[in-house]
Symmetry: C2
Amino acid sequence: MNADRTSAGDPARTLELLWRRGMDESPRRGPRPRLTIERVVRTAIEIADGEGLDAVTMRRLAAALGVAPMTLYCYVPSRTELIDLMLDEVYLRMPRTEIRGEDWRSGLKRIADENRALYRSHPWAAEVATSRPPLGPGQMAKYEHELLALDGIGLDDVTMDSALGLVVGFVRANAREAVEAESARRDSGVSDREWWDANAPLLAERVTPSSYPIATRVGSAAGEAYDAAVSPDAAYEFGIQRILDGIQPLVDGRARS
Amino acid sequence: MNADRTSAGDPARTLELLWRRGMDESPRRGPRPRLTIERVVRTAIEIADGEGLDAVTMRRLAAALGVAPMTLYCYVPSRTELIDLMLDEVYLRMPRTEIRGEDWRSGLKRIADENRALYRSHPWAAEVATSRPPLGPGQMAKYEHELLALDGIGLDDVTMDSALGLVVGFVRANAREAVEAESARRDSGVSDREWWDANAPLLAERVTPSSYPIATRVGSAAGEAYDAAVSPDAAYEFGIQRILDGIQPLVDGRARS
DNA sequence: AGGTATAGTGTACTACGTACGGTGAAGTGG
DNA sequence: CCACTTCACCGTACGTAGTACACTATACCT
């Protein structure tokens, strides 16, 4: 997986970049910068949106900006930090509609849909590892906004965080599946159906209803229901409803264990 | 992300490798092979277990086996297919205890725990993209075994597949978080606590209770409850209980939408 | 006008997967 | 017993990454 890691550089520098401080446009010595961090990040996002995160190489991005690859390092400490900046930027751009009088279930479903919309516009965002999230204004605004949907419904603070994490984690994992499916398509040049049609007859020689009775029965039923082996869209609707149903008892105060 | 993709080579060859056909030990021309696929795959798994999937490079694996890098291509068409073989192999090794008279909830929880145990032993397995899963004996046996826990409790076939997918998908996503956290630790040489201690004071300058009231309140509560910003262990227990609670209405036949 | 901080860049290093073509050993047919 | 065939093995090399380092050129300050 070329899962891209989170930054390892100087925290102070990274946070300054994220919060756009030190960006005081005082008349400084030396030549005028030809680019801005904003433009670098924006262009990187455009490339990632169109061609995936792997396409955002320093050389490719530099070419898109009309500069030499090494020039980017004047604006960004490393590719890893660039990705953090990209992620916080798309978080920041998310529309945050506040709805008064919304019940918790609608609110949480809306949060899930908002995240889903994010990953539809920016599939690469689902690929980024977030065990150490970008501590920028986008991340913070997103967290604050999402917690609002869970505030005041009787959950304690830790449970609020857990419930939100479960929901957004699910949406992200679901989006990752979709990205991986798309990557497989792109890398191999073979569509899901072609892949399955090539494998199915060969697989049928080894996997028979007598040796795998339930798997063959359920697998073929599921394969017919969706078009391919796995369908992120169907999995999303199913999963989010189950998760909301699972949070219900917490709100009602009659959850298990 | 170095999310590793699924194979793109010849399906017939890949399936033969997975099911270990064409392995007829007829006395063939030419020098005796010094290795076996089994040994290659086993060694690769050992490296991945100890040092992560990224450490499984063709050169590293070849060195561990005492051969030249290119020699591996006599046994495996590409690194991608090797990873498929590794994955199917660890699937195949999973213990499959069948318990009679188990209620569905215990059964599904057991399935989740079995998957969790897999990812504890082989964290790298969570990293592998499975939108086109390895169609080998391990994958099939695992699927068959897991479906058994959901069979005969009144769910239709498609719903059985969806419910199972939700559970194992959750466990895998949770394991991925853990892998990513570990990678971040390893790559940066900075522990979670050190990372947080370095960032917290700088973040506090930008994130105040007045600007982000709920986020600061809930974030600090959650941060105190677990040790770090994110705790996969706590998230697992919380998440799996919510998901089981969410499947309950399906079994009872009173689910939403 | 001269000094200096800084934007921009060319070159090069490491590490990766793997294509290609050569080499030598094991078995077969005469 | 010998030549021929087949195949395991591998040395070299290519293309693609990120980025360290040293150098050049520019624009401001004194």
